[in-house]
């Protein structure tokens, strides 16, 4: 398996959807290729860090204002 082949499987690998006969090859490649091992690990961290950090705040004041505005518009449209 080449590094390009490995990258093409990366999304399915994260989703646990790599075809069983390919999975052993993917895992063997990770053991053999340090670069791809790093890409795998740092891509996993990339996903995790965006999932875990709420990068845009949604304070109560904004929530209340938004909620009121949405419901006012909806009620007015009836």
């Amino acid at each position: 398996m080449t590094c390009t082949d490995f990258l093409s499987q990366l999304t399915d690998y994260f989703d646990g959807q790599v075809e069983p006969e390919l999975l052993a090859e993917v895992q063997a490649h990770i053991c053999e290729c340090h670069h791809c091992e790093v890409v795998l690990d740092t891509t996993r961290q990339t996903i995790a860090i965006y999932r875990e950090h709420e990068i845009y705040e949604f304070p109560a004041e904004l929530r209340d204002r938004l909620h009121t505005a949405i419901m006012t518009k909806c009620r007015a449209s009836r």
Binding site: Y50, A69, M71
Partner: protein
């Protein structure tokens, strides 16, 4: 011959009852749906437009549109996916209206593989949380995702930030599943490459 699974055995999403009540004019039921999804819709709009005021307007317009078109919602998809699709369309429309030369469709701007080929193979050590404070980390994450083309940013936001499935992401964006997978891979690799500038292990001597 395999048995056909009866719909009655599937778990019914709690939104189904709320949507049914809202369709009959129960505003309180619709308000409950608003309460459940206003944060998510605002966040999706802010991720795509990168602008808080636009995101507020889009969230209002998206819920109003959903309210007005509730009869057209057939229930073939989840209510939340349908709502996200409305918000994505409103967001992309808003970006198009901006007087910038940047392309803003789900198709343009994602043709090239530039930036998606891994070049930085340094490990991230110590991990980003050890390296940066919360505030600084937030700045880095915001700045980095802002640099992604909108077509990539949108796919990454729905799939990885909002945790929609690949199929739901495809449905919300009007794309095929292979197209979502391809864009998602390139979005993740581009973000990884850009973040690596901040998070890569430093080899030369002690760093501040």
């Amino acid at each position: 011959m395999p048995a056909i699974q009866s719909p009655a055995t599937e778990e019914i999403h709690p939104d189904v009852a709320l949507v049914a009540r809202a369709k009959q004019g129960d505003t309180a039921a619709f308000e409950q749906l608003v309460r459940q999804y206003e944060r998510q819709i605002f966040r999706v709009a802010q991720h795509i437009t990168q602008n808080r005021e636009d995101a507020e307007d889009i969230a209002q317009d998206a819920f109003l549109k959903a309210y007005e078109k509730l009869d057209q919602f057939q229930g073939n998809s989840k209510f939340s996916t349908w709502l996200v699709r409305i918000a994505v369309n409103e967001s992309l429309m808003r970006l198009r209206k901006r007087k910038t030369s940047k392309t803003v469709s789900m198709d343009e701007d994602v043709q090239t593989d530039d930036g998606s080929i891994p070049r930085d193979f340094a490990e991230w050590r110590p991990n980003p949380e050890q390296l940066y404070g919360q505030h600084e980390l937030g700045d880095i994450l915001r700045k980095t995702i802002q640099g992604l083309p909108p077509g990539f940013r949108t796919v990454f936001t729905l799939r990885d930030v909002e945790n929609l499935s690949t199929e739901e992401t495809a449905e919300a964006l009007g794309l095929s599943v292979p197209a979502v997978k391809s864009r998602l891979l390139r979005a993740r690799l581009q973000l990884r490459e850009r973040l690596s500038r901040y998070f890569r292990q430093k080899n030369e001597g002690p760093q501040p």
